[in-house]
């Protein structure tokens, strides 16, 4: 088993949708030896073996609608997919070009025999129009979100 894995995902050409990658890039600059950092536009199946080999996983993503996130971000365990929830997850977030963390974790467990403990850090995405760079509102959330990642890293 390797160390911890952080996957920051989203499209950096769609404004705040790129906040996951922005946080991943900042974390990579910390140079933590036991933390592998992956930046991805989408979650795709070949990440499953990486997940299966990781001690713990943190997905970092933007979440549309600031109202949905108290304080601008939240760190929580990735909710498990119930058997009945698999179809819904695959219909709305189909596995092919685009998978959810839950589906990817299930794939890791089903194909590679291990589902690591997994969390998600969801940061409020205020503007996801065409363009690079974060909105001032989401940019302002980065220090708090990065502190949350540090907490997660130190919680090993």
């Amino acid at each position: 088993m390797s160390g911890d894995l952080l996957i920051g995902w989203g499209n950096p050409l769609r404004g705040d949708d790129g906040v996951g990658q922005a946080i991943a890039a900042a974390v990579e600059r910390w140079g933590q030896p036991q933390l592998e950092v992956v930046e991805a536009v989408q979650l795709t199946p070949e990440l499953a073996p990486l997940l299966a080999a990781a001690r713990r996983v943190l997905f970092v993503d933007g979440e549309a609608g600031a109202a949905a996130v108290t304080g601008g971000w939240r760190l929580e365990p990735v909710p498990p997919l119930e058997p009945g929830g698999t179809t819904a997850a695959l219909s709305s977030q189909p596995l092919s070009h685009h998978a959810s963390p839950g589906v990817l974790l299930m794939l890791a467990e089903t194909l590679y025999g291990r589902r690591p403990p997994a969390w998600q850090l969801l940061v409020a995405a205020h503007a996801c129009g065409f363009g690079s760079g974060l909105s001032p509102a989401t940019e302002a959330l980065l220090p708090g979100a990065l502190a949350a990642v540090r907490l997660w890293c130190g919680d090993a």
Partner: protein
Amino acid sequence: MTRTILIDPVTRIEGHAKITIHLNGAGAVEAARFHVTEYRGFEAFCEGRPFTEMAAITARICGICPVSHLLASAKTGDRILAVTIPPAAEKLRRLLNLAQITQSHALSFFHLSSPDFLLGWDSDPAKRNIFGLIAADPELARGGIRLRQFGQDLIERLGGRKIHAAWAVPGGVRTPLDPVDREAIRARLPEAFATTNAALERFKGLLDGPLAPEASTFGCFPSLFMGLVGADGRWEHYDGQLRLIDAEGTVLAEALPQQRISEALAEAVEPWTYLKFPYYKPLGPEAGSYRVGPLARLNVCERIGTERADAELLELRQRGGRVVTSSFHYHLARLIEILAALEAIELLLNDPEICATHLRAHAGVNAFEAVGVSEAPRGTLFHHYRVDANGLIEAVNLIIATGQNNRAMNRTVTQIARQWIPPGAAEISEGLLNRVEAGIRCFDPCLSCSTHAAGQMPLHVQLLDPAGAVLSERWHQ
């Protein structure tokens, strides 16, 4: 009385889209439309940027095909510099594109489409997905993932994990292939070949049996086909001449003018979709519509040029004719192209020049307008830039493969709907829904590379009367 069946959005494709099926007064299918509801607005914010940054910028458009944009952009940059890149740089770019074709086709075949093929159109939707496939055939599912992983691994060994940092640049590529990486790639080839061969045999068996009706009704119609061809009409994916043929195999254009492509191709618009309808100008919007992508590339070429892939191409033509017109055979074409890509990768790895270190030509701005063309997994990709004397972008136009297949996708959906919706039908069966979606998935469209933060929508199906009242409604979840 007319009614409309609405399928919104299409699942398992990039971006958001919907399908409407219009019934006439007799309850028969009048027409079907594939709507793309999101505007591709990536070009606008490229204006004012240095053209040397375009490869890095446009590679971020898509999480599935960044390499395709990277290469088309780098080739456009080569033209602006007016340089011939070093031979080793071209070979490395080719290697990168072959890896991209492998991983993208593997994703399409094994993860999008195999559940339909192997578990049945009318099977329980709770099981007709990748997990159902794993339960039914774990080796195939695992092999598909490893094949995609092989392609991704090759891409990362060439360009680094952050391929978006633009390994391919105007004038060449940034870094050579390490001999250690060459051996690591070579070591994985036997498994990749074995997975591809197993999938080919399995799929051809299905085509001869339970999938025969779909092969004859999923977008089976005459059209033009366009794609790059190399020397002697050989299969090509990176450079060469742009050939256009008709459904009988007659070559309408042997070498479309790539740098003046707007003289040969035009784009029609419809009010109900943001996606344009490119066509061959001399024949007009309808007769001039053409298909691109794996099937088109196999149709326009004379041969692939490698032993195993050529044997499969011959078998494809025995099955579907010299020009294969059924869109369902895009799936078989993908598998054949994976095989062709693996053989070409093997040849390139054996090339003594592949680890050479002279990889870049340098120059200033020598042309103010240029077009770069390459074959993305989904079809021919054009990048067209206009720059000022300082190399700053004044205008950008991207012609993507999915757009060029737009009219074919509409015709495919119409054909499937006519075949599978009985006159007077008021309910939409699971099998029908899945076939309509699967018809679109033949083309493996990549629509918008859109944000996921906006949330996900489940499949929503509505049957509407002429006044817009909902006659029946179904959520696909």
